[in-house]
């Protein structure tokens, strides 16, 4: 394993057995539910193992995460993100393949890895209801041998970051789901881990809290350059905003791995623009003959017509606008269409993204491109 890698996997595969069906006295299967639409999409989908009684949650995943990197795993529900995190966090053994965290093999040296890592999962319900927030965090800090005084210093600081300082002495049984999630988030950072696994950390949080947490993650990494975060999310905006590099995973398979910008470039080789022209203006007709235009699409709209262009060259937008003006067309609006991670997903997977956008950041910031060339 390369010294710069905090995490590496090689052909990592995890297969799960389906629950065994009841068998009769003589070993005959006396009850069998036919495989129908009643089965969950996960059961129905195509990543069945070689044996029909098993399914492949992770299929020969090979990736490397550099030290100091904020690496994202993006995929829909059931894609295998949590399975991968659990293997890396030494909670689950792979069926085949290998994985290393902080230089140690997850199968042969789990105890050597554990002092270096921590994990926060979205929707986690850990802790003891009878203890206060501060006491719960202290308990988990002590499992890492952190002295009590230092633990309380960190707890107080982190609770202030997530805006939970006024709940420090409240029993966690009296906290809301979002407050509990904030507490769990603090738990992950209290041990100051070298590698932190964040499994959908903003799940169930309101918009403001999710933003605070995202900004804290960036700040923490900035202040601790050697630390590494592996973040799983099915929020596209979160992945786009936070991650240095992203791996897109679906049905257990790694489909692509690169920076968000590079992934977007994958799906848009030609710069795209949208021009809204006034009603009745058909000055766009000469555009069809322009060699700088790779692709042209005209969509009638209520307030006029929308012309979507894919140009061979970024600089060609000038001559295009000039031609339109010369032909008497009135341009109401001109927008550059940026590809989104949703487009990347659509191109790679062949179906639309079904995840949620936590606070509409992506939708607001980036107009959707209906057809990406």
């Amino acid at each position: 394993m390369h010294p710069d890698w905090a995490i590496a996997t090689e052909e990592l595969t995890r297969t799960f057995s389906k629950p065994r069906r009841r068998r009769g006295r003589w070993g005959l299967q006396w009850w069998r539910k036919p495989a129908t639409e009643n089965e969950s999409p996960r059961q129905q989908n195509c990543f069945q193992g070689e044996d029909s009684n098993s399914f492949v949650a992770l299929d020969r995943v090979t990736l490397q995460v550099r030290r100091g990197e904020l690496f994202g795993l993006l995929g829909p529900n059931g894609a295998g993100k949590t399975t991968l995190i659990k293997i890396l966090a030494t909670l689950l053994a792979p069926t085949s393949g290998r994985a290393w965290v902080a230089g140690w093999d997850v199968v042969s040296h789990p105890q050597a890895i554990r002092p270096y890592i921590n994990m926060v999962s979205g929707g986690e319900t850990s802790g003891y209801g009878i203890l206060t927030v501060r006491e719960n965090l202290w308990l988990f800090a002590r499992l890492y041998g952190i002295p009590t005084r230092l633990a309380y210093q960190r707890i107080d600081r982190l609770l202030a970051v997530v805006g939970l300082e006024d709940k420090a002495h409240t029993r966690i049984s009296h906290l809301s789901t979002g407050q509990r999630q904030k507490m769990n988030f603090c738990r992950g950072f209290i041990t100051d881990p070298m590698v932190l696994f964040l499994d959908e950390p903003t799940l169930g949080l309101d918009v403001a809290s999710a933003r605070t947490i995202r900004s804290f993650i960036r700040e923490w990494l900035h202040e601790h350059p050697g630390r590494t975060i592996l973040l799983t999310t099915h929020y596209l905006a979160e992945a786009d905003e936070l991650c240095d590099r992203l791996a897109i995973i679906d049905q257990g398979r790694l489909l692509a791995c690169d920076s968000p910008a590079a992934l977007k470039r994958l799906v848009q080789r030609h710069p795209r623009y949208s021009l809204h022209l006034t009603p009745g203006a058909n000055g766009w007709a000469p555009l069809r003959g322009m060699s700088v235009i790779h692709n042209l699409e005209v969509i009638p709209r209520v307030g006029g017509v929308e012309v979507q262009l894919a140009l061979r060259d970024e600089g060609a937008i000038g001559p295009v606008v000039q031609t339109l003006l010369q032909q008497g067309a009135q341009i109401v609006n001109l927008t550059k269409l940026e590809p989104s991670l949703e487009d990347v997903f659509l191109q790679l997977v062949g179906r639309r993204w079904e995840g949620d956008d936590p606070d509409g950041v992506l939708a607001a910031a980036q107009p959707r491109t209906p057809n990406v060339p």
Binding site: M1, P3, A6, F16, S17, R67, K86, A89, T90, L91, L92, A93, A102, G103, W104, P110, Q111, R114, P115, Y116, I117, N118, M119, S121, E124, T125, S126, G127, Y128, I130, L131, E135, W138, L139, F140, R142, L143, Y144, G145, I146, P147, L150, Q153, R154, R157, L158, V161, R187, F189, I190, T191, D192, P193, M194, F216, E219, W220, E223, H224, G226
Partner: protein
């Protein structure tokens, strides 16, 4: 927003930054204490919620003390009606006190690991550098403290209400046998915990099924000598049986099924056997559970 404090790297004990094969700095947090100390710290941390419960749960005294005394009272009055010696009342009270430890071992040690998994705590325990045995030791320690308070309350109430004549041959001997019984009982608890880790709900059913028969064969409410010797010998694999018989011999000067010294040796052997087997079994079953994905699988 610096989370790394300066004192982390200030001393050799805490901050000696060793390097791994990769050249990664050893996280100072893991360097705070050697493994044996981490074991103790983790055990005490896990014991804390149980002790906190003792002070924060308002109705525990009624639930945990008055109800068992009421249950024992029926047997005491039955013995009185039969004009049995006063020691028989003490025998019932001692049985009620010791059975609280048995219940704690079953549900507070064995089943607790199952509950911890469902709550999502187990994966955090496994993820941490603290060994699982430290967590279980913490559970045992916390359980012992709370159950000792409960058992003491039952005993005191019983002695006051029913005038039980406790006249031990030696208080030191009584304390020794009591501690030996606890060690063996909680050793068995460690073993149960590993079974729960493996079988989850099925282990739960098994333990529920065993609860009443074990009360019967261990002689909770009557002298063990009434039972056929074969049953007494077989029941001796449960520390409750031997411990109860030994404590009754010391506390009430009664005759036991076996000589006191034999029972003490057997209890010590059971402690070693259960703790040793539990350690091996926990390690093995944790590995199996990781392979089968049962360590983090909830509600099963």
């Amino acid at each position: 927003m610096h989370l790394v404090d300066d004192d982390r790297n200030s001393g050799t004990e805490h901050g000696a930054e060793a390097t791994t094969l990769l050249g990664l700095a050893t996280p100072p947090d893991s360097g705070y204490c050697p493994p044996w100390r981490l074991f103790g710290i983790a055990a005490l941390a896990r014991a804390y919620p149980r002790v906190a419960w003792l002070f924060r749960s308002r109705f525990w005294l009624i639930q945990e003390t008055v109800l068992p005394v009421l249950a024992a009272a029926g047997f005491v009055y039955a013995y009185r009606a039969m004009q049995a010696p006063l020691e028989y009342g003490g025998l019932v009270i001692l049985g009620a006190a010791l059975s609280t430890f048995w219940l704690n071992v079953l549900w507070g040690m064995g089943a607790q690991l199952y509950w911890e998994r469902d709550a999502g705590n187990l994966e955090l325990f496994v993820l941490s550098p603290a060994p699982l045995t430290a967590i279980l030791t913490g559970m045992a320690l916390g359980g012992m403290i709370t159950t000792c308070v409960r058992a003491l309350a039952i005993t005191v109430t019983g002695v006051v209400l029913f005038d039980v004549p406790i006249r031990p041959t030696s208080w030191w001997l009584l304390a020794g046998v009591f501690l030996l019984t606890l060690a063996a009982l909680y050793g068995l608890g460690l073993l149960f915990a590993s079974l729960f880790l493996r079988w989850g709900r099925e282990a739960w059913h098994l333990v529920s099924l065993l609860q009443e028969p074990i009360y019967l064969v261990s002689g909770t409410n009557f002298p063990l000598s009434i039972l056929p010797k074969v049953i007494a010998v077989l029941a001796s694999i449960i520390p409750l049986t031997l411990g109860m018989d030994a404590l009754r011999q010391v506390a009430f000067n009664m005759n036991g099924v076996f000589p006191l010294s034999w029972e003490a040796i057997a209890l010590a052997c059971l402690t070693v056997l259960y703790v040793g087997t539990a350690q091996f079994s926990l390690k093995h079953l944790e590995r199996r559970s990781r392979e089968e994905g049962k360590l983090t699988l909830r509600w099963q």
